[in-house]
Symmetry: C2
Subunit: 584 residues, 2 copies
C-alpha cells in the first residue's frame, strides 16, 4: 500500500479497517487525513471484454467481474485472453471478494484462471453462480472456491465496502449493477445493462438508482457498448412478437439459433413453439448446458410436453418441429455450422427449412456468420436473418437509456467503462451533453489508478500492471509477443529449414545443405527454385570457409541473409528461414 492520503471528513464509515488517519485542524474544523479510494480498471477499457475493476481502500480490496476477451484475428492459435492479475496477486491479502454482475463470458470467463492465482469468495446471483459453478467443475476447482449467492436488494459487507445488488435488464437473466458504499461515497457500477420495461423479470430497478442519485453518487461507472446507437434498444417482448410472425403460417421445420445465454429469447421460442403445437429439440453443447442449468435453477419454464430429444424430431411432421441451435456467431463446428456443411449427425438441412438467425454478428464474426448463411441458402433453406425482421435485440443500453441512467444517478464523476476508445469518448460526449463538466469525466485506460476523496475523483499518473495473458490449450501465459510474432511470420510465407553437417575436425561440409520447406511453395512444381536455394546456401558456406569463418552464428547468418535476399528478389516473399548446423 503506497499510502496516498487525502483530506476528507468522513471517518466513521470505515472504523475497523481504516488505515492511516491523522487528526488535523483547519479553520477550527476538525478534519481527518485518510486513505483515498482507488478505482483501478484491470480490463474492459479500450477493449471489448475481459471486464475487471478493482476498488481499493486502505487494507480492503474488492474486484468487480472476472471476464475473458476473445482473441483478435491476428492472435493466431490463442484460445482466450484473460486479464493480467499481477496486481491482485500482489495485494491478495487485501482481497475481500469478487463481485460478479452477470454470467456472460466477458464477465465470468476468467474465474477458473484468476481464482487459481488468487482465491477469494465469489458473490453473484443464482444464475450467475450456477454458470460459474459449471466452469469450476470443468476445471476441477469446485471445492476450492467459495461461491456465495445473493439476490437483488442484498447488501454484502466486504471489508469497508458495502456492495448492494441492483436488478438490471440484460441479454442474460439475473444481471445486476452494484452500488458500493465506500468510505468516501457511493460508487455505482452498472455492469452490462439495458432498460427493458417488458422484461419478464421486471424492469431494471430505476427507482433504486434514483434513490442513490438523491443520496449522492460520487462516481458512476457505466457500460458504453452501445453508446454509438441512437434511441432505445428493442425490447425482448417485441422480438417475441416478431418471432410469432415467423411461426405463423410456417408449415416447415423451424431451426433457430441465438446466444445460448439468452434465456429470455429461448423462453420466447419455447412459448411460441408451444402455442403453435411444435416440439422443441436442442442441439449444441453450450445450449444444452445452459438449458440444464437454467431449468434446474428455474430460470426457464419449459411448457409441458414441449421439449423432446433431438433423435425424436425425425418421427414428427415438419410443422411440428423446432430446433434450437448454437452457432449464431458462425462458430466453427457449432451445431448450425455442422448443419450448414452437412456435418451434423442428426439434422440434414432440407429445402424449405426455415432457419432463423436470432442474433446479430459481433464485430469480427460477420464473415463467419455469412459463410453459414450462404451454405444454408445453397441447401434451399429459407434463411431469415434481416435486421428489418426484428428478430434480435441487443443487451446493451443505447443513447436514450444511457441518458436516463446519468439523469437518475446524477454522479459527481463519470467513468465510462466497457468499450473501445471510440465508445468511451462517445460516452464522455454524451455525459458532456447532459451538462457534466469535462473535468468530471475520466476517460481511463486499464492499469490507470483513479483516486477518490469524498469531494473529488482524479485520474492519477500512477499505473499498475494490467494487460493480456494468452491462453493456448492448457498453457496460460506461455504464448506471448515473440511466439505470436513467429506465428504471424510463419503464416505469411511459410518456412524453410536449411540443414548442414559440418565436420568437428576441420569445419568442412560433410552433408547438406538439405532444404525443407512448408507453407512456402508447391515443392514438386518448384524443384528448380529449391535447387537454386541449395546452391545459394552452399555458396554462402564456401564464402565463409574461404574467409576462414568457423563461427556457427556467422555462418548461419550468412546462409540466412543470402537466401532471404535471393527469395525476396525472385518471389517477393519473406519466409522464415531456419539454418541448422550439426557437428559430426
Amino acid at each position: 500500500m503506497s499510502g496516498h492520503l487525502a483530506l476528507h471528513g468522513i471517518m466513521n464509515l470505515c472504523p475497523l479497517r481504516s488505515a492511516t488517519k491523522t487528526r488535523v485542524c483547519r479553520k477550527g474544523v476538525v478534519i481527518y487525513l485518510a486513505e483515498k479510494l482507488k478505482i483501478i480498471p484491470i480490463g474492459g477499457l479500450n477493449e471489448i471484454g475481459k471486464n475487471m475493476t478493482v476498488l481499493e481502500y486502505g487494507k480492503d480490496m474488492i474486484v468487480i467481474d472476472c471476464g475473458i476477451a476473445f482473441p483478435e484475428e491476428d492472435m493466431y492459435g490463442v484460445d482466450l485472453v484473460i486479464p493480467d492479475v499481477t496486481y491482485l496477486v500482489k495485494n491478495a491479502k487485501k482481497l475481500r471478494g469478487f463481485f460478479i454482475t452477470h454470467g456472460h463470458e466477458d464477465h465470468i470467463g476468467s474465474v477458473p484462471y484468476v481464482l487459481q492465482a488468487v482465491n477469494a469468495p465469489i458473490h453473484g446471483t443464482r444464475l450467475t453462480n450456477g454458470l460459474i459453478e459449471l466452469k469450476l467443475e470443468e476445471h476441477k476447482l469446485k471445492d476450492k472456491v467459495k461461491l456465495i449467492t445473493h439476490k437483488p436488494g442484498d447488501v454484502v459487507q466486504a471489508g469497508c465496502f458495502g456492495v448492494e445488488f441492483i436488478h438490471v435488464n440484460h441479454s442474460i437473466a439475473d444481471a445486476v449493477a452494484f452500488a458500493i458504499k465506500t468510505p468516501v461515497g457511493n460508487i455505482v457500477m452498472t455492469g452490462d445493462f439495458k432498460i427493458d420495461p417488458t422484461d419478464s423479470e421486471g424492469m431494471m430497478d430505476l427507482t433504486r438508482l434514483g434513490e442513490l442519485g438523491k443520496e449522492g453518487v460520487l462516481a458512476l461507472l457505466c457500460d458504453s457498448t452501445n453508446v454509438e446507437r441512437q434511441g432505445f434498444t428493442t425490447s425482448e417482448m417485441s422480438v417475441a412478437d416478431n418471432l410469432d410472425r415467423q411461426f405463423k403460417n410456417c408449415d416447415q421445420r423451424i431451426i433457430i439459433t441465438t446466444f445460448a445465454s439468452n434465456l429470455h429469447r429461448i423462453q420466447s421460442v419455447l412459448q411460441t413453439a408451444h402455442r403453435y403445437g411444435r416440439k422443441v429439440a436442442v442441439t449444441g453443447r453450450s445450449m444444452e448446458n445452459m438449458l440444464k442449468v437454467a431449468s434446474e435453477l428455474d430460470y426457464i419454464k419449459i411448457p409441458a410436453n414441449t421439449l423432446i430429444d433431438l433423435a425424436q424430431i425425425k418421427s414428427l411432421p415438419k410443422n411440428k418441429v423446432v430446433v434450437v441451435s448454437t452457432g449464431s456467431q458462425g462458430e466453427n463446428m457449432s451445431a448450425l455450422y455442422r448443419m450448414a456443411f452437412s456435418n451434423h449427425k442428426q439434422i440434414d438441412i432440407q429445402p424449405g427449412d426455415r432457419i432463423i438467425i436470432s442474433a446479430s454478428a459481433i464485430p469480427g464474426n460477420e464473415k463467419a456468420v455469412s459463410r453459414i448463411i450462404n451454405e444454408l441458402y445453397r441447401k434451399g433453406a429459407d434463411v431469415v436473418h434481416d435486421k428489418s425482421e426484428g428478430l434480435h435485440a441487443s443487451g446493451h443500453a443505447c443513447q436514450e437509456e444511457l441518458k436516463i441512467i446519468h439523469a437518475l444517478t446524477k454522479p459527481k464523476y463519470f467513468i465510462p467503462v466497457h468499450g473501445e476508445q471510440r465508445h468511451l469518448q462517445k460516452h464522455a460526449q454524451l455525459a458532456k451533453m447532459m451538462g457534466m463538466s469535462p473535468k468530471r469525466i475520466l476517460v481511463a485506460d486499464i492499469g490507470n489508478v483513479i483516486e477518490c476523496t469524498s469531494k473529488t475523483c482524479k485520474l492519477t499518473e500512477n499505473t499498475v500492471t494490467a494487460g493480456s495473458v494468452f491462453v493456448d490449450g492448457t498453457g496460460v501465459g506461455d504464448v506471448g509477443a515473440v511466439v505470436l510474432r513467429d506465428r504471424r511470420h510463419l503464416a505469411q510465407d511459410g518456412m524453410i529449414v536449411v540443414c548442414v553437417n559440418l565436420s568437428a575436425d576441420d569445419g568442412e561440409l560433410v552433408t547438406g545443405p538439405d532444404i525443407i520447406t512448408r507453407g512456402f511453395v508447391h515443392v514438386k512444381e518448384n524443384e528448380d527454385l529449391i535447387e537454386a536455394m541449395r546452391m545459394i546456401c552452399l555458396e554462402a558456406l564456401f564464402t565463409c570457409q574461404n574467409k576462414g569463418i568457423t563461427d556457427w552464428a556467422t555462418i548461419k547468418a550468412a546462409m540466412k541473409g543470402d537466401l532471404s535476399n535471393f527469395l525476396y528478389k525472385n518471389t517477393r516473399r519473406n519466409p522464415m528461414i531456419l539454418p541448422v548446423i550439426m557437428e559430426v
Copy 2:
C-alpha cells in the same frame, strides 16, 4: 466446341460465323438447328469480387470484366485472388475481346495476369481504360495489350456479338452496363450500378434499358450486392449536403478519407473546401494516382488555387486545410493508418482535428477500421463516422432500384450475378416477387454453363474449369491448398524441427536429437519441456533401433507420432513437427 445444338428460327443474325446449321422442316415451317448461346460465369457468383463472365456462340467468345477478389482472412500470405482462366486459354482462338464495365479492382484487377495468359483487345470507357493503363504500365505490359476506348451509346461488333455501352451510376465515374445483341437475342449485363438521378454525369440511361425491354431481353444479368437492403441508395448529392454540414462552423483541420476511386465524392470535397476557403492536400499513393489520372482525363474539376502540396499545409491556419487520405478500409500502412499510429511523415494528428470517414467498412474490414478510429480518438481527434451522419453512399442498387431495372428490361430469363449465395437467392426472391416464374430464374455458380436459344435459357449440367488462383508476391498459382493448409497449421501452434544424424555405416545415432521451435512456446521459460521433447524423440529412435527398423520414413513417423501425442497430452497443442534425418 462441343456443338450443342438447339432449335431456333433466327439464322441471319450470325451469317459469317454461325457454325453448324441444319435445315429441318417441321409442320411446314422451315427452322434451323443452330448453335446455342453459352453464358458462363467464370467469377463473381457465390463470392464478392473477381467478376468475369463469358458469352460464347459458335466460334465467337467475349469476356465481360476481369476482376480480382481480396483474400479471405484464412488465406494467409495471399495478396490477391484472380479467376482461373483455363477455359479462356483453351478457347483463346475464339476470344474477340474483353469488355469492362468500370474501373474498380473487382472488375479490372486481373487484367495484368489474365492478359499474359490470353491476349485480346480490351474495350472500356475512357476512365476505365485510363485505370487499366496504369496497371499495364506497372506490369510492363502497356505495349502488349490493345486498349480501345468507347463512350456510352457506342456499339462494338465483336464476332457475332454487338456490344452496346449503356451509362449507369456507380461509385466510380464512367461506369457502364452492356446490352449484347447475340444470335439468340439480347442479353443485358448491368455491371455494378445504382440509380442516382442527381449524378453529375446524369442519371443512368433508364430510357435505353426500357427500349431494350420493349425490343425484348432474353436474359438479364443483374448486380445483387445490395439486394438485402430495402429502399433506395442514398444519392451522392445528399452526401455532398452532409459534407457541407461538417465543414460549416468547423475551425479545425479536416481530414477526410474515402475510396480513392470515388471521384464524385472527391469532387464534392474539393468543391466544399473551395466554398469554405480551404486548401486541399492529398495523401496516399492510390489517392494521388487516381487524382492524377482523373484530372488528366478531365473527370475531376479542381477549383483554382485549391489543390496544394502536402508540405504546404503546415504554413496554413487550421481552418484553411483539408487533407484527403487513403485508408477508409483500415488498410495497414495506408495514409490514415500511419496518421493514427503516429507514423506519417508529414501529418501529426492534433486534438480537435476533424476526421471524416466518408466510407463504410466492407465486410471483413470492420475491425481494422475500428482500430484506426480508436487511435484517432485517443489522439483527441473529433472522428465523424456515424452512419446517421450520412457521409457515405453505397455504389450498389438497393431493392427498389433493382425492381425498376427488372420492370424496365422485362427479361424472359433472369440470372442474378455479383454476390454470395445469400445475395443471389434474395435477388431470385425479388424477381419472383416481381412476377417472374421461378423456372425462368437461374441461380448459377462459377463454372456453370447456361445455354440459351431464342426461346429458352437453361442451366445445364455442364461445367468448365473455374476457381481461384492465388497471387503471393510475384508468384501466380504456386500457392495452393496444400501450402495454405501448412500456413494455417504453422499459424495455429507454430512448429518444431527435430534434427538427428545417423551413421551411414550402422544407422546408429551420431548427434541429436536437436530440437528447434518457432511459434510454439517461450523457449527460455520452457527448457524442461524442450528437454522432455528431446527425450521422447530419443526413446522413439531407440525403440526403432531395438526393433531393427532402419527405414528413415518409419523412424521419422515414430518420432513425429510420439512427440505429437506427448505435446497434445501436455499442452493441448498440435504444432507442426518436422523430423530431419541426415546421414553422416
